[in-house]
Amino acid sequence: MRVPVSWLREYVDLPADVTARDLAAKLIAAGLEVETVDEVGADITGPIVIGRVTAIEELTGFKKPIRYCRVDVGAANDSGDPQYIVCGARNFTEGDLVVTALPGAQLPGGFAISARTTYGKVSEGMICSAAELNLWDDHTGIIVLPEGFAEPGADAYGLLGLREDVLDIAVTPDRGYALSMRGVAREAAAVYGAAFRDPADVPTASQASGGGYPASVADPAICSRYVLRTVTGFDPEAATPLWMKRRLALTGVRSISLAVDVTNYVMMELGQPLHAWDRARLRGPIEVRLARKDEQLETLDHVKRTLNPDDILITDESGPINIAGVMGGLATEISATSTDVVIEAAHFTDTHIARASRRHQLSSESSRRFERGVDSALQLAAATRAVRLLAELGGAEVDPGYTDIGHGVAREPIPMAADHPGRVAGVDYPRDRVVARLREVGCTVVDDEAADSLLVTPPSWRPDLTDRNDLAEEVIRYEGYENIPAIAPRAPAGRGLTDGQRLRRTVGRSLAGAGFVEVLSYPFLGRRDFDKLQLAADDGRRSALKLVNPLNDDEPLLRTTLLPGLLKTLVRNVGRGFGDVALFEMGLVYLPGADAPEKAPILRVDRGPAPEELASVEAAIPHQPRRVGAVLAGDREPAGWWGPGRAAVWADAIEAAREVGRAAGVEMTVKADQRAPWHPGRCAALYVSVGGVTRLVGHAGELHPRVVQEYGLPARTVAMEVELDAIEAARTTARAPEISAYPVATQDVALVIDASIPVSEVEEALRAGAGPLLESVRLFDVYTGEQVGEGRRSLAYSLRFRAPDRTLKAEEIATARDAAVAAAGERTGAVLRG
């Protein structure tokens, strides 16, 4: 809502020295979101005066006709002589009053006026159009002022309102009343303690309703009040007065015709949306009703719309003529020949208007007000104000008869303990202050001291006030939010972070410590990503949730894997010159349940949900496990003066996954696997043990060359993705080991084995064979070559033995070592290298 301050001052006696900025600050403190104070015309300076064109010389021989005008500007130019001004407009004649910018003036956009030679003449200024002065949008020519508007030479600033401070207020959904000068003025009056003159206080009618345009309302539940007033003999040629055009322009409304301008003006003034019909185009009585199936209406924007049985319609014998409160029909639009006008002022039910506005994607000034709630007692006053303006400005005759159906919305009193606002705020408000504040809002307050409670009936323009907390807010905001003290909250002893929350932090720190940089990528994917990842047609990861309204039509899906986001971020970094990248991300993936219900139910809100109700909602919510993913490309360790670097390889990806496991204190086991998007020969499946059951938690390794190509990744990019929730589930309480101080005995063994046997199996066998004296096993060399034979390799292990209670004897050590080798031989076919 744009609020010109001079207009506001008509209804509230603000102190003269209050600036627009002061007013804005006060209104903000009271709860109106004044976003900006627009100083309209602040960029206009210098002499701009009223002039009278006393002679016009038509200049010819140019591309367009040009006029050389003699303009009387009174004493404004000091000399008193007429100014000679070249002008390209033609919408004026000798004797017209115009607006003249004299040399020295500056117009919007830094346009400086000076005497200059043009079209062979010296032009001593400019005759201005409304657009050139930022008055309103009109490019049809210069402004011709009505005779008697002012004397030549008079200063134009005040006369035309060239400068005006306008408050731009973002009206929150609860404050529909603030979408009017009336509502903002009432607030201003309350915060300044100033007198308020209600512009809705218009003498409405000298007689009871009746004799107006025939109308009926099918159901008061859709329209609580319906008023029609009519005028005859309206002059369709009558121009909108300058002051009205100016005010509409300042509030952001384009001037169309006097009849339409009047409806908009009254809407801005009072907040009541109005509709004007050409009476000659209406066919028989009006009925307000819900739409019937398949009814259609072509609206003012030339769109033919199929109506919904939930739309409130205004109809006549021809069928629908308006979508009530949203937009009028084209056929009954007021036109340049309309002389008899019907003005409608109604109170339509907010939820119907809100739904209709959304359904038809039509947000109008009218629908915005209706869906936020319009004063249900305002209709007759607003319609009367409009027809009077039509009479006054357009020469019309107001019909004494009028139609007035319904009683508006009755308000029930809300009981509230007098100290309730104080208990909400934590401030002791005296009882009489509470009552006074509520009355300022417009409430009727009955103070029942015996019951220690107030009975508060909110005014008709505040449909948002329904609960005692709403009333508390009114008291608190007028008493000043700034006066609420700060008292530290007194929470009971908390338990700190959960294990899972701490684990996430540890994982993040571990990976960052290992050289990975965290990214937070968007969770949006497209089918194309699954193709690029080389996922098979039946791969479960293709089953992703889809957004109804994605930002990007190519990415309507929610991620089922973290990898695409990581890979795209990797490519971006490589593109920016960072070829050696290690990235990680921790976040949710969204996995639709195969047997989830079709729709999450909407539960009632007038009580807490029953367990089975809650379960029915939870069952519809997809599984959203937390994953950790990492990608690496280029060098894992850079080359330097110390020597060559080391390229990131498949093992770095597995190590990153193990790092996550270590952060959780969980041992991961690795097995070869084949799974997209990884290289089929360089892909590891990662397992943990949850309560003795082995559980797959993710994969790691080098990416498939096709994936590398599809995403434009550096060659041999590696990646891992593991499920953190599963790793967390595998956590066990760490037990303190027994530390033996007896000497260690180290035995190295080299085993020759078929190259296809995974080393993990060999190690497992060695451990099993060596028995309890084994402290650790470490593979320190792998050798392939002629000496061990084709298809075989030699694995060199270092075995460390130690006993908890004694120094081991040589023969004990040898026995344990031999048993380890024997087990390896038995299980994997390994033979001791000679």
Binding site: A29, G31, P173, A354, R423, V424, G426, D467, N469, D470, A472, I476, Y481, P485, A486, I487, A488, P489, A491, G494, L497, G508, L511, A512, G515, V517, E518, V519, L520, S521, Y522, K546, L547, V548, L558, R572, R576, F578, D580, A582, G587, E598, A600, I602, L603, D606, G608, P609, L614, E618, A620, I621, P622, Q624, R636, E637, P638, G640, W641, W642
Partner: protein, 372 residues
């Protein structure tokens, strides 16, 4: 070793003869003086002062002497050994000195050589700043609550008093999720962390003191100040006798913990369906502390010379919300707030553009390290 039942003629123990002791001593001192390096000296020490050195061996013979001669011989040998030991110590000092002044200089390296062999990682500043924000409240006794990102509309809207046809419901530009058959699923990407309020109230015993950091989603195109994916920190307290004053106290504690002490805060009335009364909360600009307001010569980029920085929204939990979560509104009341994590990071660390926070450029994230 000597045994008591063996007797030796003391004169036959030539190694204890004064001349012989002097000779052994002189030989040792000469060798010490001739040792050119610490390594040489080590060998000399072994040869002339070790267990098997001539003087040590001679010392063992003392026991074989007649008691009357023992003291004399002991003094003689002991004196010689002491002299050798002192000479060794002195020579050791000289040689060490020499090593320090020569060898260590020769071994000098350029310590300014880079050693960036281990790649450096970092956590995303949005992660760490959200942790820090949450920790301020954890320090006050709050716990950290959580909820899903794909959320039921009932949790995201209805239970929070966003009525089906209320304009507030359309104010938050919501991503809707399709059902399996392409219809309405009743699921959305949560538009705020507020559904966690309902989850906390349904899942915890009262009183509840929680914060909920997390990802939120709205259909805003990415630009300098908007992102379709962003982060909030929700706060919720439901207890007996809770007032707006406690909310102010909590916000003040947050501002002090995050931005430093002495900064004023300001509540402005506002509207949220799930709080009533509602407020927007601002803090005094911690850069200019208001000095830039109306002073075009000292513009402040942090607050756009407004003097105040918007932190988020808050208010008294609407009793309708408590009712929907099954809380007895006769006994309990509460407050809630929602703070922007991106905004906090932008203000506290001078981030200028939302793009930097979402693009994943390693230069941006690396600048913030492990903690913030």
């Amino acid at each position: 070793m000597s045994a008591s039942n063996n007797s030796y003629d003391p004169v036959e123990v030539t190694s204890l003869h004064p001349d012989e002791v002097a000779r052994m001593r002189d030989e040792a001192l000469a060798a010490i003086a001739g040792a050119a390096s610490l390594a040489d000296l080590k060998e000399v020490r072994l040869a002339h002062a070790g267990d098997r050195s001539p003087l040590a061996l001679a010392n063992r013979e003392i026991g074989a002497l007649q008691p009357t001669a023992r003291a004399d011989a002991g003094k003689r040998v002991g004196g010689a050994r002491r002299e050798v030991s002192e000479a060794l110590k002195a020579r050791q000092a000289v040689l060490e000195e020499e090593r320090d002044s020569r060898v260590l200089v020769e071994e000098a390296v350029d310590v300014t050589l880079p050693w960036d062999r281990a790649p450096r990682g970092a956590r995303h500043p949005l992660t760490t700043v959200a942790e820090r924000m949450a920790d301020i409240f954890v320090g006050m006794g709050f716990e950290v609550a959580e909820g899903p990102e794909v959320e039921a509309e009932w949790f995201n809207f209805d239970a929070l008093n966003f009525l089906p046809d209320h304009p507030a419901r359309t104010m938050q530009d919501t991503f809707f999720v399709e059902s399996r058959t392409g219809g309405e699923s009743g699921l959305v990407l949560r538009t705020h962390t507020s559904p966690v309020q309902i989850r906390a109230l349904l899942g915890r015993e009262l009183p509840v003191y929680v914060v909920a950091p997390g990802k939120t989603f709205r259909t805003d195109e990415l630009d300098a100040t908007h992102s379709p994916v962003f982060h909030q920190l929700e706060g919720l307290v439901v207890d007996e006798g809770i007032t707006l004053a406690h909310l102010r106290g909590a916000i003040d504690a947050f501002v002090e913990g995050m931005f430093g002490s002495g900064l004023r805060t300001r509540f402005r009335p506002s509207y949220f369906p799930f709080t009533e009364p509602s407020a927007e909360v601002d803090m005094e600009c911690f850069v200019c502390r208001g000095a830039s307001v109306g002073d075009p010569d000292r513009p402040c980029r942090t607050c756009s010379s407004e003097g105040w920085i918007e932190l988020g929204g808050c208010g008294v939990v609407n009793p309708r919300v408590l009712t929907a979560a099954g809380v007895d509104t006769g006994r309990y009341s509460g407050w809630a707030f929602g703070l922007g994590v991106e905004r906090t990071l932008m203000f506290a660390h001078g981030v200028q553009d939302m793009h930097d926070m979402v693009e994943g450029d390693v230069r941006f994230t690396s600048a913030f390290g492990m903690e913030i």
